[in-house]
């Protein structure tokens, strides 16, 4: 029986019905030339398949995924917007009026902690400054003004950065309390403070991990550009934490 090339190809591609397949298989055993042609079709097929197969494993460009799932992208945008909204609510929640009572309470805690630490000049670490804002005093104020991020001490300084209003701000952890201080004139105002995660006195984790979200949100809300590096921090310290003069 003679088979057309089309039939042999269809056999190689698994496209024949049972009867046709059985007929070819009977002929194959008896005809090496026929078997050779079928093998050629199969080899070409598997070679061509293999040549393009790695494309399946490539990372799909994000633009294509986004094109395929516009709703998902819209969802993501909505989620992001919701998150920003939430953060705004959180920030509003931490705004000054509610802060008075909490800050006063925390100040006592910090005060007690620093006394246990034995700091002589640390009798007062926070006080209400002009306009009812909380400002750093004593040991905390000294650390904020004089300490570099890398140095050890009762106060751990986290990031230092320029805020959008031009003032310089530094995050700190002190006796289990984390906060943000921003330079205002010759004072360090403390717009936010909260209990540091797992931050028992003297046990300073990496600044970022110990920062409570209220402090991180406050940083996010203020920071303009990247945080200061060691050199920038040093320069700011020498300027007395005043804003960089305009060029």
């Amino acid at each position: 029986m003679k088979f057309s090339d089309e039939t042999l190809m269809a056999y190689a591609d698994g496209e024949l019905d049972d009867d046709q397949r059985a007929a070819i298989e009977r002929a194959l055993g008896a005809d090496p030339a026929l078997a050779e042609r079928v093998a050629q079709h199969q080899a070409l097929r598997s070679d061509v398949f293999a040549a393009f197969a790695p494309i399946l494993d490539e990372a799909v460009p994000p633009a294509l995924t986004a094109a395929a799932m516009p709703d998902k992208v819209a969802d993501l945008n909505a989620a992001r917007a919701a998150r920003v909204e939430q953060a705004a609510v959180a920030r509003r929640r931490w705004s000054w009026p509610e802060w008075g009572a909490i800050a006063a309470m925390l100040a006592v805690g910090v005060l007690a902690g620093s006394q246990i630490g034995g700091g002589g000049d640390a009798a007062l670490t926070l006080a209400q400054g002009a306009g009812g804002k909380l400002v750093a005093r004593g040991q905390l104020a000294t650390a904020l003004s004089q300490q570099l991020a890398a140095s050890e001490g009762a106060v751990h300084i986290g990031v230092s950065f320029a805020a959008r209003d031009g003032s310089l701000c530094r995050s700190f952890v002190m006796h289990g309390t984390a906060g943000l201080a921003c330079r205002n004139g010759n004072d360090w105002q403390v717009p936010v403070m909260a209990e540091a995660a797992g931050g028992a006195a003297g046990e300073y984790r990496q600044a970022g991990s110990a920062m409570p979200s209220a402090v991180l949100d406050a940083i996010d809300a203020r920071i303009a550009g990247p945080a200061l590096d060691a050199k920038g921090e040093q320069e700011a310290l020498q300027r007395g934490w005043q804003s960089k003069p305009a060029h």
């Binding site: 089309e6 040549a51 399946l56 490539e58 799909v60 799932m69 709703d71 998902k72």
Partner: protein, 161 residues
């Protein structure tokens, strides 16, 4: 729903596009067009029929009707890429893949389409014929011819090396 299904098909759509176009950017442009059109007329797709075939058809039409002419069409096959590290098993396999891709790129559009659908993607003849909107007899004769030409191109390349 259809969006997730299309997203899941993206790797295959990209492979199909890369088989029928000549370079990566063109291929992804073509996929993007197909995806956007597919979503734009998703009401034309009948649930229960194959979404993959439907998208391949959109891609095929976009390629033939409009995209082909404005594609870069410059070869992707850098000779130095094919010639490096001869003797290395991986490099040899890579070299063979490149040789085959190159041979496929030299086929006519009609032949490259059937190769892309049947040999590369593995669609059954019936589905491939529907994608191309041709009778199944036309598909099989085209496929036989495409294979013959491809085999010749590969033998020519082998002789030149």
């Amino acid at each position: 729903m259809i969006q997730q299904e299309i997203a899941a098909l993206l790797p295959r759509l990209r492979r199909f596009a890369r088989t029928i176009t000549y370079n990566r950017e063109d291929a992804d442009d073509l996929v993007q067009i197909a995806v956007e059109r597919g979503l734009g007329r998703s009401e034309q797709w009948e649930p229960g029929t194959r979404l993959d075939s439907w998208l391949f058809r959109i891609m095929k039409n976009a390629w033939i009707d409009e995209v082909r002419s404005r594609m870069r069409r410059d070869a992707v096959f850098a000779p130095e890429e094919a010639g490096e590290h001869v003797g290395d098993d991986y490099a040899e396999a890579h070299q063979q893949r490149m040789a085959i891709q190159q041979a496929v790129s030299r086929l006519s559009d009609e032949h490259r389409m059937v190769v892309a659908l049947v040999l590369v993607d593995g669609l059954p003849y019936k589905e491939a014929a529907e994608v191309l909107e041709i009778p199944i007899g036309t598909l099989t004769s085209r496929l036989v011819r495409a294979r013959t030409v491809l085999q010749e191109l590969l033998s020519d390349q082998a002789r030149k090396v």
